[in-house]
Each structure stands twice: as C-alpha cells, then as structure tokens.
Amino acid sequence: MKILVAISNVPDTTAKISFANGDSEFNSAGVTYIINPYDEWYALVRALELKEAGKASQVTLIHVGLTDSEATIRKGLAIGADDAVRINSDGPDAFFVADQIANYAKANGYELVLVGKETINYNGSSVGGMIGGLTDWAYVSLATKMDVDAGKVTLEHDIDGGSQVVEASLPLVVSCAKGMAEQRIPNMRGIMAARTKPITVVEATAGDKLTNVKSFVLAKGRTECKFIDENNVDQLVQLLHTEAKVI
C-alpha cells in the first residue's frame, strides 16, 4: 500500500500577519514558512509509523505550490518520507488543490491519502473532503487513531459529543488530528538523506477556480484589558452582567 501525504506550506504559528498589494494577498516578506503542523505531526508521522510496521510500502509527500516551498518539502523528506511530488501551481483555492491531489493519487496507485485536520492559514478543513468527493473514495475526518490490517483500516474519529470507531476499506482519504502520532524532530541522518531524495515536479492540470480571495483585513484586536482587584470580584461579576452582558 502506497500512502500519499498532502502537505501545505504555511506561515509559522508566531508569524506576524500582514497583507500586501492593496490587502489582496498575504505579505510573506520576512515570514518563516513551515509544514502545516497537522500535516506534519499527525498525517506524516502516522504514515511513517505504518511503513515502519510493514503496513505501507511507500510514503510520498504531495504539495501544490511554487519553487519557494521546496525547503518545506525537504523538511518533510528529512522527517522520513521516501519521495515527494510538487504540483507546480500557486494553488488558488481548496478545490483546485484537491483536484490536483485527487488526479495524482488516482493516476499513480495511491490507496491512502492523508491530510491534516485543517491548515493554520486558511482554516478550511476542506481539501480532504474534496479529494474524497472527487475520487469517490470514502473520507474519514478528524481521525485521532488509525491502523491498517489486511486492507482494512480501523479508525477512531470525532463526532458530535464524542467519537466513534469505524472500519473502512481502501482506497481512503483521512484527515488527521491530535492523538494520531507524536511530533518527530528530523535528525542529521534524515536531513542529509533528504538532500538526495527525489522531488518530482509536475505541471498542474487545468482546473476550475471556483472561489477567490478578494481582500484581507486584520481581525479587530481587543481594547485594553480592564484589571479588577483580586479582593473585588463583585466588580467583575457586575461588569460581566451589565457591561459585557454575558451572564
């Protein structure tokens, strides 16, 4: 079984968020980019664990992006993926990205496609479900546990008010959340090996651009914190009741 892990190239969690070109695009100047944490910590590491357990033959990274995301792809290879594919496109929206990944997975014999539960830049939780729709494969979202045995995949995933254990057959798309695996720090051997692992560059196929971002605006920050004396909690209760009107 070959596993395809979709990774996104996102600004570091602590990056300063600002916009350029009349607020129509993200200002990447001076921003450090990382593998989207859910793609890295959960999807990629669990894929590697399955390979180490002899349950997968190959772990391939797939990324829809331009040349500037190669450092992020190399990091994924350093953590342990066998090889990587970069679809050469700026990935205009979730549907376009999902379409590219779905086409590649189907054409190249991948049976398990893993994504993180969401990206920390667009927070859409959309690409995995769209890949499922485009391939007509089953999709299990927000999975916290996954194991594979004789072509059957057993997963635990979140539902309203709890979780459920499900069994699915391959091919399958899974979005991975906390619980799936623990973060791995690449070691020197992995970093050296990553330098010679192949990154195949594939031109994007023509796809629909169903949505586009017209503009960005920073969220309103909070006004100054109002401090209340620790001996005067009644004042806090009054403020919550009469000013904030939340209790």
Partner: protein, 326 residues
C-alpha cells in the same frame, strides 16, 4: 431555485448550530428573492416546528436510520435534495459533520465552498461574497464564490438565534441511497458529554483552567464556578497531556477551537497556540497570578492574583447575582 439548509437533531433537540444555519439561510433567501428549504433526518413534530420558527419556508423531512454521521450518505442525500429543489446555495454548519460533508458536496457539484463563514454574503453579479476567518482568527478574508451553485458553511456562534412565528411546510423526502454503498462501518460509539453540560463546540459560556491549578485534585473549584455560571469546563493543552483532564476538554489550536460568548481562563499563560483556539470568544476573562502572563494582552477583563482564593469568592458572587435575578 431556493436556498437549501442541512440541519441536524442531536440528543432530542435541533442542534443550536443548525438553527443558526436556518436563520442564516433564510436571510440569504431573502437577499436572493427566493425561499429557504431545510432538510433534516428523523425529526419529530416539535423539532420540525422549531426549524420552521427559525425561518425555513419548507422542510424536507427524511426518515432513515442508516444515515447517522456517515458523510458519504449525508452528501448523497443533500445532493439529491439540492437537485429536487433546484438549490443554488447550500448551507451547512462548520461543525463536525459539516466539515466532512460540505467539501465532499462541493467537489461533487463543482460548487465553490467557503468553509467557516462569519457574516452574511453580499451579492456581486452572479457571485456571492462571503467573509471568513483566516490565520487562526488573526484576520478575515473576503471570498468570492464564482460557481453557479455555492456552498457555505457557517461558523457556529456567529449570530444569535432568532425564533419567530413562522411555520414551515413539511414534505416527506426519501433520499434514494440504495446505489450508494456506505464504505464506513461503525463499530463503536463513545460519548464524552458529561451529564447535562453543553458540548464545548456549542457552549456559550466556558470556564477553562491550566497548569496554574497545580493538580487535578484542585478542579473542584473550577467545576463549582462553571456550575454557578452554567458553563462548560475546558482546559489547556499541558493539562490534557498530563491527564489531569480528559483530552476532549482541551481547547486551543490542536484541540477544540471555540468561540463562546464568555471564556474564563484560569491559570493559563496564553501561549499563541492556545489563543488561536479561543480568540474568537466575545468576552475573555483572565485570572492569573503572573501579571506578565501574555494572556492579559488578549483579555477584556483581568484579575492578577491567586486562583485558589479568587475562585471561591467569584463563585459566591455569581451565585448572589443569580439569586438576585430570580
């Protein structure tokens, strides 16, 4: 054409997020000069009435015990309903099932999706323009949906629910799912909801505590405060990782992202990863013994002091307020 709204019944009630979606879908229908149709599985008369009160003109009532939380079957059902109704806009909640179904349907219909909308859309020619939170709540993006059919999932707790006197026409709808083999077999369902408290993603009031509580044996006073307010309890990541509290209570970037009306954070320093999961809360109260705790910068109200002396006093003060209000 009509606007189609997917709604759910959970634990004997129409989900709060679903009622928000009906309000939202009815508003979009008004904007487009059309009607709002809701679809719901296994709802009783009282639940159908409530969906009507939230503004649906028509309800497609489906009786089916196989659908459950299966995103493949839900997608097929909504797709058939959208065809039957000629729907051009389809609304979901951006909740657990909405996150699985809306993108699948979007792909099937080649319909542009905005996942996690926070405001009503605006019409711009044939496009709809919708705002959603991006960069974990640090910014808002204005999306244009350019496809003929449009899918929007609404971020829960974005709007208060308004129930009116409207009554919907109810029509039985039988989705034909015989050709769609469910590819997912449910083996076991585990419930994490404790007693009567509202599940975290839907909670309007949340009391959350972190390492500052020093140990799981001290959570009694956190629970007392939560009970006095009628709030759901939550915790920070280290607390869940140390097994002081169950994982489903963990709020933050890797845990559950929430946006209640009131978030009280006790003994939580406010790491950026924690803030990413709670900064959508309308009012934030921070109680911390360290006046340099970064969380105060993101708070509306703050108390610097010892949680062990403040919490019991705060609980009493809340009880007093509630007693006077009655």
């Amino acid at each position: 054409m009509s606007v189609l709204i997917y709604t759910e019944v959970n634990k004997g009630k129409v989900k709060k997020a679903s009622l928000e979606c009906v309000n939202y879908g009815a508003k979009i229908a008004q904007l487009l000069g059309t009607t709002a149709t809701a679809i719901v599985v296994n709802a009783d008369a009282a639940q159908l009435e409530e969906i009507g009160k939230a503004g649906a003109n028509k309800i497609l009532s489906v009786k089916n015990d196989a659908i459950g939380n299966d995103s493949i079957l839900i997608t097929a059902m909504v797709e058939q309903a959208a065809k039957a109704e000629g729907s051009k806009v389809i609304v979901f909640a951006f909740d657990v099932n909405g996150k699985a179904v809306a993108p699948r349907l979007s792909a099937k219909l080649r319909a542009g999706l905005v996942a996690g909308a926070v405001d009503y859309p605006a019409v711009n020619g044939a496009a709809l323009e919708v705002k959603k939170n991006v960069f974990s709540g640090k910014a808002i993006a204005l999306y244009s949906i350019n496809s003929d059919i449009k899918v929007i999932s609404l971020l829960p707790n974005s709007f208060p629910i308004v129930l009116g006197a409207n009554a919907a026409t109810v029509a039985d709808f039988s989705a034909d799912l015989s050709a769609i083999a469910s590819k997912i077999v449910v083996k076991e369902v585990k419930s994490t909801s404790s007693g009567t408290s509202v599940p975290l993603p839907e909670a309007e009031l949340v009391v959350s505590a972190g390492r500052g509580m020093k140990g799981p044996e001290n959570w009694g006073m956190v629970e007392d405060l939560a009970n006095a307010i009628g709030a759901t309890t939550a915790c920070s990541r280290p607390v869940a990782d140390m097994h002081w509290r169950p994982h489903h209570e963990h709020v933050g970037q890797t845990g559950v992202a929430i946006r209640p009306n009131l978030y009280i954070a006790i003994g939580i320093s406010g790491a950026i990863q924690h803030l990413a999961g709670v900064n959508g809360s309308k009012t934030i109260v921070v109680i911390n013994s360290d006046k340099e705790a970064p969380f105060f910068k993101s708070a509306d109200y703050g108390i610097v002091g010892d949680a062990f002396t403040i919490l019991p006093k705060l609980t009493e003060a809340i009880k007093k307020l509630k007693a006077n209000a009655n």
